[in-house]
């Protein structure tokens, strides 16, 4: 189970992102435990947040947690935004008047419910009644509550580990809300403390992204995973050490996290279905920053209105109310009513009118068109705001509808604008927590792109763009892969072969027996060679070139040796013994070899030992290395007898490597013990 560390410090206003990605085939499941305060029931949260507008935002402490169990077949990126608007939770104690019910049917004992960070205390008003309750938060597992809009009274149900429940009935829903928030906070906090994140090493600042990279690497490479399991989980090596030598792998993984940006959804924004409440005649829209971003991207006039009106002229809530009112009016296709309302409310009119920013943008694009054949935009693009897309029906325009025309908007206009925005792609990339940030980021990016576009006709960028666009890729030659130039600092030294001979001493590895004992002088040797040639020329070849019995002998010997070695070693020189072993043995041998390499890498890197940490590490590594010997013996024993010789040949270098390391260890231990009497305290 993977628990990612979260911070639930209520006094922090920062936003925190937890990103958890699971690969398709992963058997691991992630459980980010806590509660969803705002969701009505536990379910899988899609990749957006739920944001309720039914209650004024400023008094809510929107903290969202999800209890969820992810199916392993889904690849979900989850965003959990820890978001504090108001610091209501600075208090560590909540006291409310409530009634305590043991079951639902129970009328309940009235009293006071006090909750602190440690425990829940309920004191009945009537000291004589038996409903006193004193429960520590440790035992509380979860909570449920009744919905505000329903006709049920405000109840809060706290469940404990033994599946019992404590039901409290409050006087009103806001009390319930406060208690709920508090309980949620405490539960989250306690949920954290009780578990130890697997990566909590004192010397490592791991953030979630790093953790996720490591997990991905481990999942992708089973060899690495085996090594990891073998060493890190058995405490031979620490996480930090294990990953310290694999920085390059991690970096490569990090850069592989594709910077591909998710585009907008194809579903249209106007398809947001609000949730309706028949009883109170209220319609609730759920707006997430994602949706808001899309609205602003598609309707720049709305964006501009937001930037100018909020929070000066109206609150955000009002803004959206008006916006949705305008949408409603559009959907009824009642342009007369729209005109009427627009006349009354100038802000509403903004939403109802045609988007003049779009119009001006289209016109600007036309001006910017390259002389090179670029059909990106032409006069026909300036149609989105025209009724009927500029196509005249029946050959004429109705004059009577002129004043209402501004307020008409057709579905095809919406669809086309939406499609254009989707195809453009996202202009802003990051995640947002509130509308203001969305609006500002979008405005910023628009400004930037407009700056780029406003350059004059003959600017270098424009010319550069022209030259790039006139290039036809198909007709270019292929780019050869760039090769690093060979850089030899001192070529003479590198290539020169003659200087070595001057330094040659007589007592080197190639002993005198290998040297050609040549007492003849140069002309003599050449002369003898030339003599042989002339003798052959005059006499012709010796008949026979090779004696039959010699040939027969040679042939026999060769055949024998070929058949023997084929049996022992294999057909071609490149074939390795490993391939002929049974597969399990081969895998075990290879795995042992990689683990030996890993251990040796860390072992030799720890010398010379200067700190006690290295000392302990070396000891651990030495123990792990000693454990490998019996494993090798076991493999040697398990192999069928015809392979035993080869396996022992393969195993021999492993033994030698381990022996060398252990020898070195023992020598250094001895040296240390003899010196320990003399050394000052600085040496461990």
């Amino acid at each position: 189970m993977l628990r990612l560390p979260t911070s639930t410090d209520p006094s922090c206003l920062k936003e925190m992102l937890l990103v958890c990605k699971l690969s398709r085939s992963s058997p691991n499941r992630a459980q980010i435990g806590a509660m969803d305060m705002a969701a009505k029931r536990r379910r899988l949260i899609p990749s957006s947040l739920r944001w309720l507008l039914t209650v004024p935002i400023s008094s809510r402490d929107c903290r969202l947690f999800f209890p969820l169990r992810l199916p392993a077949t889904l690849q979900i990126s989850l965003l959990s935004v820890h978001y504090n608007i108001h610091q209501t939770m600075a208090s560590a104690r909540v006291a409310k008047i409530a009634k305590y019910k043991t079951t639902i049917k129970d009328p309940g004992t009235p009293g006071t419910l006090t909750m602190t960070l440690e425990k829940i205390l309920f004191v009945p008003r009537n000291p004589k009644s038996a409903g006193k309750l004193d429960v520590e938060f440790r035992y509380i597992k979860g909570q449920k509550h009744t919905k505000e809009g329903s006709n049920k009274p405000p109840w809060l149900n706290l469940t404990n580990n033994q599946n019992g429940s404590f039901i409290f009935e409050f006087e009103n829903y806001s009390d319930l809300q406060d208690c709920r928030d508090f309980v949620g906070k405490v539960l989250a906090k306690s949920g954290e403390v009780s578990e130890k994140p697997t990566a909590a090493y004192p010397d490592e600042q791991l953030n979630a992204a790093e953790m996720e990279l490591r997990i991905k690497l481990l999942q992708d490479d089973s060899e690495l995973q085996k090594l990891h399991k073998q060493f890190v989980l058995s405490d031979v090596l620490t996480e930090a050490e294990f990953w310290a030598t694999r920085k390059k792998l991690l970096d490569r993984e990090a850069s592989k996290k594709i910077k591909q940006r998710l585009g907008f959804k194809s579903a249209m924004v106007s398809d947001i279905k609000p949730s309706t409440d028949g009883r109170t005649n209220k319609v609730t829209f759920n707006l997430t920053p994602e949706i808001i971003l899309q609205i602003f991207a598609e309707k720049p006039a709305v964006h501009r209105a937001f930037l100018s009106y909020v929070p000066n002229k109206m609150s955000e809530r009002n803004f959206w109310t008006k916006y949705f009112r305008a949408e409603y009016l559009h959907s009824t296709k009642n342009s007369i009513a729209a005109a009427a309302e627009a006349a009354e409310d100038e802000e509403l009119a903004v939403f109802l009118k045609h988007d003049d920013i779009l119009a001006s943008e289209a016109r600007r694009k036309i001006r910017r068109v390259d002389p090179t054949l670029d059909m990106e935009a032409d006069e026909g693009d300036d149609y989105t705001h025209l009724p009927d897309h500029g196509i005249f029906r029946d050959g004429n325009k109705e004059m009577t509808e002129l004043q209402n025309e501004l307020y008409k908007r057709t579905l095809s206009q919406d669809i086309n604008r939406h499609a254009a925005v989707v195809l453009e792609g996202r202009a802003v990339d990051a995640e947002f927590e509130d509308t203001k940030a969305v609006a500002e980021a979008l405005a910023h990016s628009k400004r930037e792109s407009s700056n780029k576009g406003e350059s004059d006709g003959n600017s270098p960028e424009r010319l550069d763009r022209l030259s790039r666009m006139t290039e036809i890729e198909d007709l270019q030659g292929s780019n050869n892969l760039p090769l690093a130039p060979l850089c030899i600092k001192d070529p003479r030294d590198y290539f020169d072969s003659q200087q070595a001979n001057a330094l040659r001493t007589s007592g080197d590895a190639l002993s005198g027996t290998e040297q050609i004992k040549c007492s003849l002088s140069i002309p003599e040797v050449y002369g003898s060679l030339r003599e042989s040639i002339s003798s052959i020329k005059t006499m012709g070849w010796k008949e026979p070139i090779v004696k039959p019995e010699v040939a027969h002998q040679v042939f026999d010997a060769l055949t024998n040796s070929i058949s023997n070695t084929k049996h022992n070693i294999g057909k071609n020189p490149q074939e390795s013994v490993l391939d002929r072993l049974p597969r399990k043995t081969k895998e075990e041998l290879l795995h042992i070899w990689t683990s030996i390499l890993e251990l040796l890498k860390h072992f030799w890197a720890s010398y010379p030992i200067t700190t006690s940490y290295l000392y302990a590490k070396v000891n651990r590594l030495k123990d792990a290395m000693s454990n490998i010997y019996p494993q090798l013996e076991e493999i040697k024993g398990s192999v069928p007898s015809e392979f035993r010789h080869q396996v022992s040949l393969l195993v021999r270098p492993m033994h030698q490597a381990l022996d060398a390391a252990i020898q070195h260890y023992e020598a250094s231990m001895q040296k240390r013990s003899t010196q320990s009497g003399e050394k000052p305290n600085g040496y461990v």
Partner: protein, 313 residues
């Protein structure tokens, strides 16, 4: 550069570039006389040429001071040297060989005593590779070339760098290097060359039957090697020469940037200019021994062992 794909028009066409050792110092002290070996070798060339009408043999002489192209069976100049006693091609080859030896002798100069009398194997190997590159670029149809080295001289450690470069470029062009070593000791360079490029290496036991060895092992064309078993050496000698003194070494230091081999610790790598920041004491770090006499190597600036290990790497 990538090798041009060879367009075999028949599976078993050979193009053999033979590097013939003509080191006089070796031949004067060899058990097999030069004339005898020449008769074996010339008969072998003829045999190759009779195996297939399209076969081609090119001979490069590896001399003591120089190397040169001696013979090309596809050339038309072979007709000039008529000699009743032997096939025309052989006599032209012998003529050219003689001329080459004269030139080689003229290039010789006085040297210090004690030098290993090795032939210029690196030079002839490079010339062979250049010829093969020309064949690749001739477009049209050509058989897949291979190189056959008939060497007897001992290895010259000072040629290590050049020979290894040539071997790697042969590997890259997918040209197998076969080697037949007729000298007294073992040649590490030839073993490595054949191993790396996928050729076959053999050291004949009985030099009187050299022709039989050549016909059985080295006449096999590349296509047939997939189903004809050839002798496989038990192990490969991977000894290297150090870059600073050109001595043959078993254990040494390696620059972690360019993998140049040095026999003792240097502050700065002479090939790539990298400066080693840490000073590691001269203990050997780790050891993984190759099959026969492998190279234990140490990276200066790190403490890690790499090895040439033919089975497990």
């Amino acid at each position: 550069m990538a090798s041009a794909p060879s367009k075999l028009y028949a599976d078993d066409v050979n193009l053999v570039v033979v590097l013939l050792d003509t080191n006089p110092f070796f031949w004067s002290s060899s058990s097999l006389s030069f004339s005898q070996s020449l008769s074996h070798v010339l008969a072998f060339f003829n045999a190759i040429l009779t195996l297939n009408q399209l076969n081609q043999v090119v001979v490069i002489a590896t001399g003591y001071n120089s190397c040169d192209y001696i013979f090309d069976s596809a050339s038309d100049l072979n007709r000039c040297f008529e000699n009743g006693r032997m096939p025309v091609m052989s006599s032209s080859l012998l003529q050219k060989l003689e001329e080459f030896l004269i030139k080689d002798e003229q290039l010789s100069k006085e040297e210090a005593e004690g030098r290993i009398k090795s032939s210029l194997f690196s030079g002839s190997l490079s010339m062979a590779l250049c010829y093969i590159q020309r064949v690749f670029r001739s477009g049209a149809l050509h058989p897949h070339p291979r190189i056959l080295c008939l060497q007897g001289s001992p290895d010259g450690p000072e040629q290590y760098v050049a020979i290894m470069n040539a071997i790697f470029s042969a590997q890259r062009s997918e040209v197998p290097i076969d080697s037949c070593y007729i000298g007294a000791q073992n040649s590490a360079f030839l073993q490595q060359a054949s191993y790396i490029t996928g050729g076959v290496h053999h050291k004949p036991q009985n030099l009187d039957g050299l022709f039989q060895y050549l016909m059985t092992i080295f006449a096999t064309d590349l296509h047939s090697r997939s189903f004809i078993h050839l002798p496989k050496p038990v192990g490969v000698d991977f000894r290297a020469s150090c870059f600073c003194h050109k001595n043959t070494i078993d254990m040494g230091y390696i620059c972690s940037v360019c993998l140049s081999i040095f026999c003792k610790h240097h502050k700065k790598c002479s090939t790539c200019g990298y400066e080693f920041k840490e000073v590691i004491s001269s203990t050997i770090f780790g050891g993984c021994v190759g099959q026969k006499r492998g190279a234990k190597c140490v990276i200066a600036g790190w403490g890690f062992c790499i090895s040439h290990h033919e089975f497990l790497c």
